[in-house]
Symmetry: C2
Subunit: 244 residues, 2 copies
């Protein structure tokens, strides 16, 4: 069994179409490379009750939970309050975060800026010891800001801790359409029921019509399934092969 993960994207700006979320794709790619299986993404509104319920549910259902967005000094930054609500704890001012904020802003510190030190009670800091590389963690929930650059830096700093057995992948670009190869793929799955097999049609590509992906955490199993696919596809149907 892989480690599983769920991602909660918090942000009216995504749902109202103002911002395209790129954080979930970044996290999905990185986590897959680490061998972690992302099983669900939710994009929800900046509402305390909603955030609390969603994050608590994800926390029960998955080994790791990542939230992005809603962390900051303004009225619409309610992620910390939402997560605290979901776990039935208070929002407190984290002493170490407060110390760093006071050091940074000196005489310009104010109530709004100090909101950046607020965390659910019981939360800890993980990652490097300077302000913008720490990730706030409560139980199995990692709380990230929504700005992609900051999220990526912080994720890089802590990702080693998430590593699991890697997935092995073969990608076969096939010149025939899905209507032709569907039965071949069905037969392949009948022989290799544990194989993670994907079939993705591609429009307007002169070289191939379908991208077929084969994955497994068992390299040997993958290799045998891959050989079977190669031997059952029609002569000349393969445009290109990729993989790790």
């Amino acid at each position: 069994m892989s480690k599983t993960a769920g991602i909660v994207i918090i942000g009216n700006e995504v749902l109202s179409g103002k911002t395209q979320d790129t954080n979930s794709h970044f996290l999905c790619r990185e986590l897959r490379t680490l061998g972690v299986e992302v099983r669900r993404i939710s994009v929800i509104l900046d509402e305390i009750e909603l955030i609390g319920k969603e994050v608590a549910t994800f926390s029960r259902n998955f080994d790791l939970v990542f939230t992005t967005g809603g962390v900051g000094p303004t009225h619409d930054d309610v992620t910390m309050a939402g997560i605290a609500h979901g776990f039935g704890v208070k929002v407190i001012r984290h002493p170490e975060l407060e110390r760093r904020l006071r050091e940074r802003h000196r005489e310009n510190i104010n109530e709004a800026r100090l909101r950046m030190a607020e965390v659910p009670e019981g939360a800890e800091l993980v990652g490097e010891g300077f302000l913008y590389a720490s990730v706030v963690k409560l139980r199995n929930v990692y709380i990230f800001p929504g700005i992609p650059k900051i999220l990526q830096e912080r994720f890089e700093a802590i990702k080693g801790g998430f590593r699991d057995t890697p997935f092995f992948l073969k990608v076969v670009y096939v010149k025939e359409g899905e209507g032709v190869i569907a039965s071949i793929l069905n037969n392949l799955l009948a022989s290799f029921p544990e194989l993670l097999l994907g079939s993705y049609p591609v429009l307007d590509n002169p070289d191939y019509k379908v991208k077929v992906t084969l994955e497994s955490k068992d390299m040997n199993y993958l290799s045998r399934a891959f050989q079977k696919l190669l031997s059952t596809l029609p002569e000349g149907a393969i445009h290109r092969i990729d993989g790790n």
Copy 2:
């Protein structure tokens, strides 16, 4: 009250980081322009039970539901079966879709290709009368394929039916950071509690630090809130103003 919508993205390829979903952003932008409020996006695995449960829940909670992905002739295309399961109906072969598929493929028709005619019992076709512009609809659920180009064409063909009172938007690009303007925004919300107010910090832009968005379906209300914001921001704090 606006019409509400939820989007269900069905696809292991998104969760495993192989594909970046762009369909949800397209739908969020289009629906916002039409005056429809998207309240939730879920990205879930290609699993029948999961799809059924999610789509049925969305159907109860929102006026309109859009699904993307998992529609096609191969083993991993289980959206139709999932939605049928969720509503407790059978999967049937739609006579009109079958007719079009047989006309298109002639003597090359096969079982895999005929899977493209399968829909949940009770589903209807909306949109133009040729194969690739019809959208399969069951109750308030619109079932789209995952390929962005096809999804966009089909959405364009039917979107007129979703139109609601539009949102009016003002965007103010502010040179001060959130730590400075947070209290101004809080005061604005205290005076205009119905205002949809967003505050989005921007990194590494030499011209401004925060993008502030004000929205309402009531143009007059928006206009008064906007004037109040302009009159309370510090002198010279505005870089630029946008909106409709």
